[in-house]
């Protein structure tokens, strides 16, 4: 397994983990959301963050992206604590949109070009034209599925170290889902890693190297997809259904 990773990464790239999370705790009021979460994501990985609704997936993503602060514990992105510096290293697709409905595609492209030095405008334009989305169309006029595609294109057009995709395939039809997964695979570079949260496991489990099961604020399973499949003799989806049986 490790030989494979080394081969893909080549020798020139730093071997330091893209993301290191240690004993992370976070409560909202009296309600604990994360209780001592710890894991490491090496470079060149696509990792699934899996868990039922309300298990803390989105909170974890917000903490990594620096939108909210932990009560205790540590997060390191390429060895750096969440800060202004790490904002330029992380490309984050939040669960809910933050783009204004009245904006035209070209306004949004300008916004991203201004905001992010690593935004690849040409790549974004090419992907939008593949979808026949014109620069003059407004977000307001688009279907939910198209909006989700546009946002994913924007996020994946950055050349970031770490991509955080919070439920990128929630609420879209299977064709749109396939497009989104393809876009993720196409834009994935061996020098970065992608953390994807989802509860629609069956559709996406073949694109993960590694999965993290989060339950009641704790990591209950952390492993390589193929190792889990051979250890448990079932798919990640099957294991999920067993672990989180209601």
């Amino acid at each position: 397994m490790n030989d494979t990773m080394d081969m893909i990464q080549g020798g020139s790239v730093s071997q330091k983990a893209v993301l290191q999370v240690n004993s992370l705790c976070k409560s909202y009021g009296n309600h604990p959301v994360l209780e001592g979460v710890g894991f490491t994501i090496p470079r060149g990985r696509i990792v699934g963050l899996l868990g039922p609704n309300g298990c803390g997936k989105s909170t974890l993503m917000k903490l990594i992206s620096g939108l909210t602060q932990p009560d205790s514990g540590e997060i390191l992105i390429d060895g750096v604590l969440p800060s202004k510096q790490t904002k330029s290293m992380i490309s984050y697709l939040p669960e809910r949109t933050y783009l204004n409905d009245w904006m035209k595609i070209k306004d949004i492209l300008n916004l991203f070009s201004d905001f992010y030095a690593d935004f690849d405008l040409e790549r974004a334009k090419a992907m939008l034209s593949d979808l026949n989305i014109s620069a003059d169309s407004k977000l307001k006029t688009m279907s939910k599925g198209t909006k989700e595609k546009v946002q994913l294109i924007l996020v994946m057009s950055r050349r970031a170290h770490l991509y955080l995709l919070d439920e990128p395939i929630g609420g879209v039809d299977p064709a749109a889902r396939e497009y989104i997964l393809n876009t993720i695979l196409k834009n994935f570079e061996e020098t970065s890693s992608i953390l994807i949260s989802t509860h629609l496991i069956q559709d996406v489990e073949t694109i993960f190297d590694q999965v993290l099961f989060l339950n009641h604020g704790k990591i209950v399973i952390n492993g390589e997809v193929d190792e889990i499949r051979s250890t448990y003799g079932k798919s990640i989806d099957g294991l999920f259904r067993e672990v989180f049986k209601c």
Partner: protein, 123 residues
Amino acid sequence: MTWSFDDNLPIYLQIIRILKSDLARGKYQPGEKLPAVRELALEAGVNPNTMQKALAELERDGLVKSQRTAGRFVTEDKEKIMEISKTLAYDEIAKMVENISSLGYEKKDILQLLERYLAEQEA
């Protein structure tokens, strides 16, 4: 459309099996260049690292070989390809024998059944 996978086996093993049958069927000819890892991963809808792992395994078995910058090529050894076809056929026969045995047939009956079936198909 991406490849379809069974639930209970590691994905890289299933990729190996699919690629082997592609070689046996002649989808990729002896000496032919294989598509890049990323391309194959996209086609299959799998993680590039998983595809890489499967290809490395085929390489270890001498079925494909890497040429540093030029890419990966199918072996030119036609016997090796024939060997794959035979192994895959044996796997299918093993499954068939197991299934028919579970219906209560003896080994000698199985051969008879198969012969009769083939004769009927020809007729």
